[in-house]
């Protein structure tokens, strides 16, 4: 199954890249894009069985490796069958 992890800067943490992208968009005529925050996106092909253990292990990866808790938060997206479990 494919597990997707989104890592984003916490609110209030300066995002120089996002600000630069927003300014570029404004220059290109997309004035409605009033703020841009850049993040990271990971696709993990997971070979283990779905379930609590998989959730625990992916959580450990997202919290302990893919994100830095000082500046970033994360969101894990599970395949449809796993959602709401």
């Amino acid at each position: 199954m494919m597990v997707r992890v989104y890592v984003t800067l916490k609110p209030g943490v300066l995002d120089p890249q996002g600000m630069t992208i927003q300014k570029a968009l404004a220059t290109l005529g997309y004035a409605e894009a009033e703020e841009v925050r850049q993040g990271k996106y990971f696709e993990i092909r997971w070979s283990g069985e779905p379930g609590d253990e998989a959730r625990r292990r992916v959580e450990a990866i997202a919290a302990g490796v893919l994100s830095n808790p000082v500046i970033e938060g994360y969101r894990i997206e599970w395949p449809a069958a796993e959602r709401g479990a």
């Binding site: 300066l14 995002d15 830095n68 000082v70 500046i71």
Partner: protein, 236 residues
């Protein structure tokens, strides 16, 4: 002084650091590959600058899982002196041995030039040969040196006097114009709470010989040598 210089895949200031420690500061240096676990009882561990693991994921993020890091963690917990320069600083932050995290420079450019820095404290093992308030000229070379910590942690750092170096102008004023990368409170160097682990973005090893244009960085290595000599003296 016995120093261990840790070499990660992608370290590139390791030999400069070794050179200054050995040839200028007169230390005995052992280079420690990142997969080693035995630091061989040094007085000082240095994590040099570079691009460990290609800076993939985040600067220092993957290096902190190297086997040697567990030994460095125990060494630091026992009060051992640890110095992280540039990427070494970033690795120590990722490992949780130093506070804060580095964001991209606010100007989004890699900055490689000399900057002025104000020494905030001269009563640390790393800065005893400087004067408090002294202004140094040292080179920086980084893309992610924009120091960030949450507001409460920043207050803690100030209250515990953990900020050792601040970006300043030549007069020693920590102004916004003198801040090259957007670091909060112009922070360029901080210690851990106990004061035995220092991280700094500037490169003292690149400014320790007159031939290279500045000797301002040598005070840091001289301070460590002097501190350790004093400790040996005290145990006699």
């Amino acid at each position: 002084m016995k120093a261990a210089v840790v070499v990660f895949p992608g370290s590139n200031c390791d030999h400069d650091t070794q050179h200054v420690l050995e040839r200028v500061a007169g230390a005995e240096v052992r280079m420690v590959w990142h997969t080693e676990r035995d630091l061989a009882d040094p007085d000082l561990v240095v994590l040099p600058g570079g691009f460990s693991y290609g800076d993939y994921l985040r600067t220092g993020a993957l290096a902190r899982f190297s086997p040697v890091m567990e030994s460095i963690r125990s060494f630091a917990a026992r009060g051992g002196l640890v110095l992280g320069i540039c990427n070494g600083f970033q690795i120590l932050q990722e490992a949780g041995l130093l506070p804060g995290a580095m964001l991209r420079n606010r100007g989004l450019r890699f900055i490689c030039r000399h900057v002025h820095l104000r020494v905030e404290r001269a009563d640390t093992p790393f800065t005893s040969e400087y004067r408090a308030g002294q202004v140094l000229s040292l080179p920086i070379a980084h893309n992610e040196g924009n120091f960030y910590a949450a507001a409460e942690e920043l207050e803690d750092l100030e209250r515990n006097r953990q900020v050792i170096l601040r970006y300043s102008n030549a007069a020693g004023e920590a102004t916004d114009e003198a801040n090259p990368n957007g670091s909060l409170r112009n922070i360029a160097g901080v210690t851990n709470r106990a004061g035995n682990v220092l991280g700094m973005m500037p490169h003292p090893e690149r400014a320790s010989e007159a031939l290279l244009g500045s000797e301002d960085g040598f005070g840091l290595f001289a301070s460590l040598v002097a501190t350790l000599a004093r400790r040996v003296e005290a145990t006699r």
